[in-house]
């Protein structure tokens, strides 16, 4: 059981909430409180739009513990339109959606896994899917 850690991360994980640096105005994700661009203190919350594009991707055929039931699935580096790049699972790919570098994607909140067995908490978080329209 690692409930306290999940509980602390929920805001960034459910809603893509990061930070904006008040000094150089770079947008930061994940939130880290010190701006990697100018070294200034950054604690202002910023909610990302959820729009981005695939920067690179790979398909996982053997999944790490806890994710087995979802394999095979695609993990991508997604470049958010506000700048940061993050790692996330792609979802809702269907049959007809060929994943490509540069493909526009949007954030959705989905079930990531169950913590432990069927009696554990469900862990939700961001994934990305092909833009709907």
């Amino acid at each position: 059981m690692e409930n306290p850690r999940h509980w602390r991360l929920k805001k960034q994980r459910y809603g893509l909430v990061g930070e904006e640096c008040p000094h150089c105005h770079e947008k930061l994700f994940p939130p880290r409180d010190v701006c990697p661009h100018c070294g200034g203190e950054a604690k202002e919350e910023f909610t990302f739009s959820g729009q981005g594009e695939v920067y690179s991707f790979t398909t996982m055929y053997s999944a790490p513990a806890g994710y087995e039931e979802y394999a095979p699935y695609t993990v991508a580096l997604v470049k958010l339109e506000e700048g940061p790049v993050l790692t996330a699972q792609l979802t809702d790919l269907g049959d007809d959606e060929e994943v490509e570098i540069g493909m526009p994607v949007e954030m959705v909140t989905r079930r990531l896994r169950s913590d432990g067995d069927d009696s554990g908490i469900l862990i939700y978080g961001y994934k990305f899917r092909p833009v709907m329209k």
Partner: protein, 360 residues
């Protein structure tokens, strides 16, 4: 100010002290579709008719919480309000992911409505969503709140091989209730009709529901919907021809088609909101996702009659009128038909995997 009650039937309506309406709405339907012919192939040796064409099936990473979050985000885009302005986040469903732990808190957290908000879950079989909607009208109508979010969403399951397996589907919609002046559609009145009827149930600890076979039709669905819709029209002094659109709870194609005829509505009036042939029975989401499909195309001034049905049993009937504001705000989020057309067909084997039917 005291509102004068003109007749006895008007006194039976639920009408808030201040006028309220739908400030924002949003649909969600998952992308996977199981054709009903697949169920016939597995269970009926490819013979017999089917109650619908196909049904919507949620992905492995979807449940009532994730689907509600997306519908709620769509509703917020149309309402053009901040999630922190919501004073209630209520989720009506019979497939909440947890037996104990509300879906409402997760949805409220994900959309950014916490912590100054009431949150919780509603249960009344297929009318849990409209039940939440009526409560939201009360909260806003009494000025306890400016905005309240009510969601009807389900990922319904039928026992493999059971008649319900053809139709038990996933989807629903979210509605933000607010003052009438800001609304895309004003809700003029509601009428609720309830009796104790054992047509469909699920006992604690059972994975699949049970139903009273032929008992589900006449004394349950038809009796409650016709009673509620008729009383609403009597109380509001309206008749079927006053409504441009009508939406009824839709467990299949036949029931809503027949009940609309019994009440005097035409095929044309129910067509836009009749989604069960292509997405199945979305239970607590069914009447509400039908309403969202109607709001996507309705014109200012159009009247809409919506009547839900929940086993157990009861119906909520709503008289709704669309306002000018709908034209500028409904384009802010995906339409219901965008979700329906985003379609990936699956076979029974993939369905068994996606719905975890082999799990112990």
């Amino acid at each position: 100010m005291e509102e004068r009650v003109h007749n006895e039937s008007e006194a039976l309506l639920l009408k808030p002290e201040r006028k309220v309406g739908i400030v924002g709405y949003g649909a969600y339907v998952p992308r996977y579709r199981l054709p009903a012919t697949e169920i016939n192939r597995i269970w009926k040796g490819d013979t017999g008719g089917t109650p619908i064409r196909e049904k919507a099936v949620p992905g492995l990473d979807e449940d009532v919480v994730t689907m509600s979050i997306e519908a709620a985000r769509n509703a917020l885009l149309r309402a053009q309000i901040d999630a922190e302005e919501l004073r209630a986040v209520w989720v009506g469903s019979e497939s909440h992911p947890y037996a104990v732990k509300p879906s409402g808190t997760l949805v409220a957290e994900a959309i950014g409505a916490v912590p100054s908000v009431s949150a919780g879950d509603w249960e009344f079989a297929c009318k849990a969503g409209t039940e939440a909607l009526v409560a939201a009208m009360g909260l806003v109508g009494s000025r306890m709140a400016e905005y309240a979010l009510a969601i009807g969403m389900d990922t319904a399951q039928g026992r493999p091989g059971d008649a319900l397996e053809y139709t038990a589907a996933a989807g629903g919609a979210a509605f933000i209730i607010g003052p009438a002046e800001e609304s895309l559609a004003v809700i003029d009145a509601v009428y609720s009709y309830v009796t104790d009827t054992p047509d469909f149930w699920r006992r604690e600890g059972q994975k699949y529901p049970s139903h009273g076979q032929r008992f589900t039709g006449t004394p349950a669905y038809f009796k409650h919907i016709t009673s509620a819709a008729s009383a609403l029209m009597e109380g509001t002094n309206t008749e079927p021809s006053d409504y441009r659109f009508a939406v009824f709870h839709q467990p299949n194609t036949k029931f809503p088609t027949n009940v609309s005829k019994m009440l005097g509505f035409s095929k044309e009036q129910i067509q836009t909101g009749l989604l069960s042939p292509v997405i199945g029975n979305t239970y607590a989401g069914a009447a509400l996702v039908g309403l969202s499909a109607v709001l996507d195309v309705a014109e200012p001034g159009n009247k809409i009659l919506v009547t839900s049905f929940g086993s157990g049993a009861g119906s909520d009937a709503f008289a709704i009128q669309v306002t000018d504001a709908i034209l500028e705000r409904r384009g802010n989020a995906p339409f219901t038909q965008d979700y329906i057309q985003r379609r990936t067909e699956i076979d029974y084997g993939m369905y068994v995997r996606m719905r975890r039917k082999l799990a112990k």
